[in-house]
């Protein structure tokens, strides 16, 4: 189950050369700056770029090779455009059913009722698409794409055109899609917070090529990539709910490096969750602090120390079990604590967010 991407596209002043494979399940983020070619890559997968050469195989089905180019309307995919691209002459329901009506009945794995429920569109069906909010439009665009029962879902910065409130409204739906549907997703984004909430895998792109590729958890903490050095740098950890402390309104989590508590969440015991820990929220102690207001303290080992864009700061990578945490501390603290690779320390985590 893989998506094989071996593509070559030349345009004046730009060249896209991709030669890689990504998992045929879960969410793969195509991540990079504007102009790095991530949207173009997505369009190549969709068959919207006619001049691309190469080979494209999606979970065993060849969509393009030396002597074949399946046109876009014959590829079993769903595409969610940045601006939604809903049809203004159709109602919400008309938009949702546009693609659904065009696939053979036997291939309709996803049903309209299911999608309207999943995306909370029940009350909007008869509305005109020009009358609903940006966030609602984007949900319709996702529903419309899902209703073609796609073999792969392509999403081009579906949240980029939305304000913060609409974004917050739509992210839970995206996470539900991730959890409840087994369709592989290629997700284009340049927002690391979005990606670290949703993606499992990442293609880090630069100048029309893949610079790094791998599990999201790994890539966002790699010191040779700009992600770990960004202002909002964070680590992502997979954890399990172990219980609740109702008296203090806390939920207890466990991961391979220790235990964490977060604000009370309505989650069942032993549910798997993903937590995000910002580099600026991790402090380092040489000994286990006894009297601290910070609840989360896990034993860790210094992996390495690297320069930060800010001259007064350094970035310390910590091994916590099999996971990696990032910690941004001042250069003075680094000297004071005499941190070296291999030093055993305690990581104090001021804030943990379940994503």
């Amino acid at each position: 189950m893989t998506i094989e991407l071996r593509l070559d596209l030349e345009r004046p002043g730009f060249r896209l050369t991709i030669d890689t494979e990504v998992p045929g399940r879960g969410v793969t983020a195509l991540f990079g700056r504007s102009g790095c070619g991530k949207t173009t890559l997505l369009r190549c997968v969709a068959g919207l770029e006619r001049s691309v050469r190469g080979r494209l195989v999606v979970n065993g089905e060849t969509w393009q090779d030396a002597d074949r180019f399946t046109p876009a309307h014959q590829r079993p995919l769903g595409y969610v455009f940045q601006e939604g691209q809903l049809f203004p002459h159709l109602s919400v329901e008309g938009n949702l059913r546009y693609g659904y009506r065009r696939i053979p009945a036997a291939e309709r794995v996803v049903q309209p009722e299911e999608v309207t429920r999943l995306l909370g569109l029940e009350t909007l069906l008869q509305r005109r698409v020009t009358e609903i909010s940006g966030g609602q439009r984007q949900r319709v665009a996702m529903g419309r794409a899902l209703l073609t029962s796609p073999r792969v879902l392509l999403m081009d910065e579906p949240l980029a055109a939305l304000d913060a409130i609409s974004k917050a409204e739509i992210l839970p739906y995206l996470e539900r899609l991730h959890d409840e549907l087994s369709v592989p997703v290629l997700y284009v984004s340049h927002a690391i917070d979005e990606v670290s909430r949703l993606a499992d895998h990442m293609l880090f792109m630069e100048d029309g090529a893949v610079r790094a590729e791998g599990a999201l958890r790994e890539l966002i903490t790699r010191r040779d990539l700009p992600l770990a050095h960004a202002e909002g740098a964070a680590a992502v950890i997979e954890a399990r709910v172990t219980g609740h402390d109702d008296r203090h309104h806390l939920t207890e989590l466990e991961f391979d490096g220790g235990k964490l508590v977060v604000s009370r969440e309505h989650l069942q015991r032993s549910v798997r969750v993903r937590v995000r820990i910002m580099a600026r929220d991790v402090a380092i102690h040489l000994t286990r602090p006894r009297d601290s207001s910070v609840l989360n303290c896990v034993p860790a080992r210094v992996l390495d120390v690297s320069d930060d864009p800010h001259p007064g700061h350094v970035l310390v990578r910590l091994a916590v079990g099999d996971s990696t945490l990032l910690s941004r501390i001042t250069r003075r603290s680094l000297a004071h604590l005499a941190l070296q690779p291999g030093t055993d320390v305690y990581a104090l985590v001021k804030s943990v967010a379940i994503t």
Binding site: A46, G47, L48, P71, A72, H73, Q74, R75, L77, G78, Y79, F81, E83, Q85, L86, F87, P88, H89, Y98, G99, R102, I103, R128, T130, R144, A145, T148, L154
Partner: protein, 226 residues
């Protein structure tokens, strides 16, 4: 009652005019739609030249257009030289002349409408399994309803109002090539102002009605689909 006001010959001219306008509009839609689609999408270097040719009937005197079409269709013309029939002074000849004469009135509104539909909507439709024809009928046509309606109305109304081209290539054969505008001219020449009044009044009312309906419908489409 109508017989008191309109002679059978004028009735025939009126009927012929409407038939000519209807046939011309249909032919123009069939020819003009692909042309307008091409003009709206192409980056070809011939685009400007083609656009200029399409717009020529807007500025040329109708007699000039009629003259060239007469040369083309007439007894010494290239169509006959290639073994075709003589089309001058026939209904078919009138249709050909009218198609040329009203071409910009159909192609330009269509071209504007098609250009207004971004490639985005078409790509979205393609990613929802709609093939090229499917996209044309379910996305392009509904999204260019206003342009289409304008093209039909202007094409029809403009053909109804043509005079010079018809006079040059159709002559003035009652019942065969005599259209209303020429019948009016004849009545005025013969100082039969009463008949001229009736036909002119009918044409005025018809033209007003068509434009009124066009603007009314377009206004509603605009309100519903900005």
């Amino acid at each position: 009652m109508l017989h008191q006001w309109i002679s059978p010959q004028d009735m025939a001219a009126l009927w012929l005019t409407l038939k000519l306008a209807a046939v011309t509009t249909v032919v123009l839609l069939i020819l003009g739609t692909p042309l307008a689609l091409w003009l709206a999408r192409t980056r070809s270097r011939f685009k400007l030249a083609v656009e200029s040719v399409v717009a020529l009937p807007l500025v040329l005197p109708p007699t000039v257009i009629g003259f060239y079409i007469l040369i083309l269709l007439g007894s010494q013309g290239p169509i006959q030289a290639l073994g075709g029939p003589s089309l001058a002074f026939t209904f078919t000849g009138l249709v050909i002349g009218s198609v040329v004469y009203s071409l910009p009135f159909v192609v330009q509104p269509l071209q504007n409408a098609f250009a207004g539909i971004g490639t985005g909507a078409l790509e979205a439709a393609a990613c929802l399994r709609a093939g090229p024809w499917d996209r044309f009928f379910t996305v392009v046509i509904p999204l260019s309803r206003r342009g289409l309606l304008t093209a039909i109305t202007l094409g029809f109304a403009h053909t109804v109002g043509e005079f010079g081209v018809v006079l040059m290539i159709g002559g003035n054969i009652p019942g065969e090539t005599q259209v209303v505008s020429i019948a009016i001219y004849d009545h005025v020449e013969a100082v039969d102002y009463a008949s001229a009044h009736v036909l002119s009044g009918l044409l005025l009312a018809l033209s007003f009605l068509m434009l009124f309906v066009l603007y009314a419908i377009n206004g509603r489409i605009k309100m519903v689909m900005p």
